[in-house]
């Protein structure tokens, strides 16, 4: 006989202290999904451990009692990674927020994984260092979640994704054993387990502590916002900058749909006739930044830029970033619902892909705006529509499928940073053959060959999992 929710919570209160266990309708509602709200599933109980040992106790208990468990950070994930698909215990890292050691000399720190990304950089700013991965959610999203999703951000182009910044982890494996993997010295011989765990979406164990790299804060930062009268000019600029070898720290693009929304929402002004904008940031040594910015501006002009604004101070820099940072939020004003996608294509295919996105939107008669990490070829087409109209919903679903399929056909990926979770699980077989998926399944089996640790994520066709085949792709607000 399975335990009732209340009974299970009572048992867990014997494993951890009662104040570290949440149960009941409110807790179940609060922990039934992440920022991908389309799919939901109630947990049986939620635990808030404070240490690695407490996590290990909970996982061991779950194993002994055959109860599924799922690690959860801030719940800002965009693919349903934290949804307790088969119920069971949500292990929240909310109380695991300590920085345990700062090693300035070796430019790294050891932290518990429930801490928000931004707090790491805040803690080491005084030493002229920062933690480079900067997902837009960085004020809330946790290091554990960043590790789970191998998150990127606007500055990924130059600094790389989370995988490039995690040196070692302490992880409670799916059997409840505590593993210390990797360490402060990079590149050690042996299998790169840390590289596999980063991006493992919480299916390989619960990461409780991590050694992460710290990078010197760049001495100089120069930010420019460039306006174009055609999208093609902007995409060509992206290709030319990459080819020129001047690797900007950030290279972001917004099309007219986004610009209109930011104008409406935040009074952001842009030159008459603007069809798209690039936000380009160069950082590093002052001389190099000046040189790179000159190269960048020359390329922009050559491609027909109608306006180039270079920030003269920090306040202006923040204003220029506004259009990128508030872009998606501003879309919320355009229609009752929006859905943002996360596809990747080889970056030279940007013009072709963008044209395709517009064509799909026209054909399906839905509004679309585009904002993306152009330097990485990571697009976030954003459809706006009215979700009370079932026909519109159907067309949005179809549009999403077409776009993601085109990303695969162009040699890209179904996700650049939001992960597979439950959202894209059925798309995995469009990108990977059965043999490819089995190869991935093998790497998962090194750590997890059961159905208890974050089941029903990443790999399709898992036992007892319900897979939805016709839902909105991406995130809905």
């Amino acid at each position: 006989m399975p335990l009732s929710h209340a009974e299970l919570a009572k048992k867990l209160e014997q494993v951890l202290k009662p104040s570290s266990v949440l149960s009941g309708a409110a807790a179940e509602r609060a922990y039934d999904c992440d920022a991908y709200t389309v799919d939901r599933s109630n947990p049986t109980a939620v635990v808030l451990p404070e240490t690695t040992e407490e996590v290990a106790k909970v996982v061991k208990w779950c194993c002994e009692n055959n109860v599924p468990f799922t690690a959860r950070g801030a719940g800002t994930g965009l693919s349903g990674g934290v949804l307790p698909a088969l119920g069971g215990v949500v292990i929240s890292t909310k109380k695991m927020v300590q920085i345990l050691e700062i090693d300035v000399k070796n430019r790294c720190l050891l932290t518990q994984t429930g801490i928000a990304n931004k707090r790491l950089s805040d803690a080491v700013k005084q030493y002229g260092l920062h933690f480079a991965p900067d997902p837009s959610s960085q004020t809330v999203s946790t290091i554990g979640g960043n590790i789970g999703e191998n998150s990127g951000g606007p500055h990924t182009l130059k600094y790389g994704v989370t995988a490039q910044h995690v040196l070692g982890v302490t992880m409670v494996d799916p059997k409840g054993e505590i593993l210390h993997l990797g360490g402060k010295v990079e590149g050690a011989p042996g299998y790169d387990f840390v590289g596999l765990i980063v991006g493992g979406e919480g299916t390989l164990g619960v990461v409780t502590e991590a050694w992460v790299k710290l990078v010197p804060i760049p001495k100089e930062v120069s930010t420019a916002l460039i306006a174009y009268s055609s999208v093609n000019q902007a995409t060509q600029t992206v290709a030319d900058i990459i080819a020129a070898g001047a690797i900007p720290a950030a290279l972001e693009m917004m099309d007219q749909g986004i610009l209109r929304a930011v104008k409406l929402g935040f009074g952001f002004d842009y030159p008459e006739g603007t069809d798209s904008m690039l936000l380009i940031e160069c950082d590093g040594e002052p001389d190099a930044v000046r040189r790179d910015m000159e190269i960048v501006q020359e390329i922009c002009r050559k491609n027909g830029a109608i306006d180039i604004r270079v920030a003269q101070d920090e306040a202006e820099r923040a204003r220029l970033w506004l259009v990128r940072k508030k872009g998606i939020g501003a879309m919320g004003r355009m229609a009752p619902s929006i859905v943002t996608h996360d596809g990747v294509i080889p970056r030279s295919k940007l013009p072709e892909m963008l044209e395709f996105v517009y064509e799909v939107a026209r054909r399906k008669e839905i509004g679309v705006a585009n904002i993306f990490h152009a330097g990485d070829g990571n697009l976030h087409p954003c459809f706006y529509f009215d979700d009370r109209d079932q026909d519109q919903v159907k067309r949005v679903v179809e549009a999403g499928e077409e776009i993601i399929s085109r990303c695969i056909a162009l040699g890209g990926s179904v996700t650049g940073e939001h992960g597979i979770g439950v959202e894209k699980i059925d798309l995995m077989s469009l990108m990977f053959s059965e043999a490819d998926l089995e190869l991935q399944a093998k790497s998962k089996r090194i750590f997890n060959d059961g159905m208890l640790c974050n089941p029903c994520k990443v790999l399709p066709n898992q036992k007892s999992c319900v897979e939805h085949r016709a839902r909105w792709r991406g995130t809905a607000w």
Partner: protein, 337 residues
């Protein structure tokens, strides 16, 4: 019976297509040793196949009037070695070379893993691109143990290079891979997109695995514009003669100065940016070790690679069981697996 006077008699196949590689792996029954043609990677582990190869090399060098290096001399093959060699097949990717696809604008290249690194560098260089591994002149290459072997070995052995701190290493450049698994099945991971989080990063597991989990057949790599390449900061020492470095050590930044100072007699090169040092160290000796550091060696037998952490060792064995249950892929090449 293998004739000790006729080394290199263990069967060696040189497949020319992916299908042939797959068939070679599937059809051969015993152990498989992936090598780059006639050369075995100097940082590999002792094995019957390696002993056989070293003996052959020593004989060849002697015949040509060169004294073989000490570790190549007096190699005896045991009865067990012979038995093992009877059931070992070498698979060389020497005939599986060349670029499959190079998207110059995307700075992405898909290449067969038998391609020598320098050949790939040359091809990429034609369009102003490269992999950010410095190509050094022979004395400096020897000082940093740079082998410039085919990609299958470069990736498999994953040795430090002079721009690791500035530009990363194979784990950062490989965005996709095709492998042939222990049963011959071909599978791919990753994609041609420079950013991708679809599924598990299996390719990272293959980097540095020395072919013990699967045979790397093709790789998709990010390339770098040559003009954006930073200068490496490796310092070369004139000592100690013309032997290639056989000791590679990386320490924490905080210990590096002390490591360089205490080993200055035997150092061939050091890179402060990545806290890596290269040295020539006799097989029976070791240099001072520091907390959290790691070492890989060449010519020191089982000491070439030592895993002291029981957790990592146990996991490595587990990974081997999952990927290669009959332990036939490059057995022993990574010490415990």
């Amino acid at each position: 019976m293998v004739d000790p006077q006729q080394p290199l008699t263990a069967k060696t196949l040189q497949p020319e297509t992916l299908a042939e590689i797959s068939a070679s792996v599937a059809d051969e029954k015993g152990s498989l040793v992936f090598n780059a043609g006639a050369i075995l990677h100097p940082f590999g582990m002792p094995s019957p196949f390696r002993r056989m190869w070293m003996k052959a090399m020593a004989q060849q060098m002697q015949a040509e009037g060169f004294p073989p290096p000490p570790e190549f001399q007096d190699i005896q093959l045991s009865q067990d070695d012979f038995i093992s060699l009877l059931t070992t097949t070498g698979i060389s990717l020497d005939d599986y070379t060349g670029i499959i696809e190079h998207d110059v604008d995307d700075q992405v290249v898909v290449v067969r893993a038998g391609t020598p690194l320098l050949e790939l560098q040359y091809e990429l260089g034609q369009v102003g691109q490269c992999l950010p591994i410095p190509t050094l002149e022979p004395p400096q290459a020897m000082a940093t143990a740079a082998v410039y072997s085919p990609l299958i070995d470069e990736i498999g052995y994953n040795l430090p290079h002079g721009l690791a701190a500035q530009c990363g290493s194979w784990r950062d450049w490989i965005i996709g891979m095709k492998v042939v698994q222990a049963d011959g099945t071909i599978a791919k991971c990753g994609s041609k997109a420079v950013k991708n989080v679809a599924g598990y990063d299996v390719q990272k597991l293959m980097v540095g695995a020395r072919g013990t989990l699967a045979l790397i057949a093709e790789v998709t790599l990010k390339t770098f514009p040559i003009k954006a390449l930073p200068e490496h900061q490796v310092r070369f020492m004139r000592r100690p003669g013309n032997r290639p470095a056989n000791w590679i050590q990386r320490t924490q930044r905080s210990d590096f100065e002390a490591a360089v100072r205490s080993n200055s007699e035997v150092l061939t090169a050091f890179d402060s940016a990545s806290s890596t040092l290269w040295a020539v160290v006799p097989p029976s000796q070791t240099l001072q070790r520091f907390p959290g550091d790691w070492v890989i060696r060449s010519g020191a037998g089982p000491e070439n690679i030592v895993f002291s952490d029981p957790t990592a060792t146990e996991l490595m064995i587990r990974a081997k069981e999952v990927f290669d249950p009959t332990r036939r892929m490059n057995p022993g090449e990574l010490g415990v697996v």
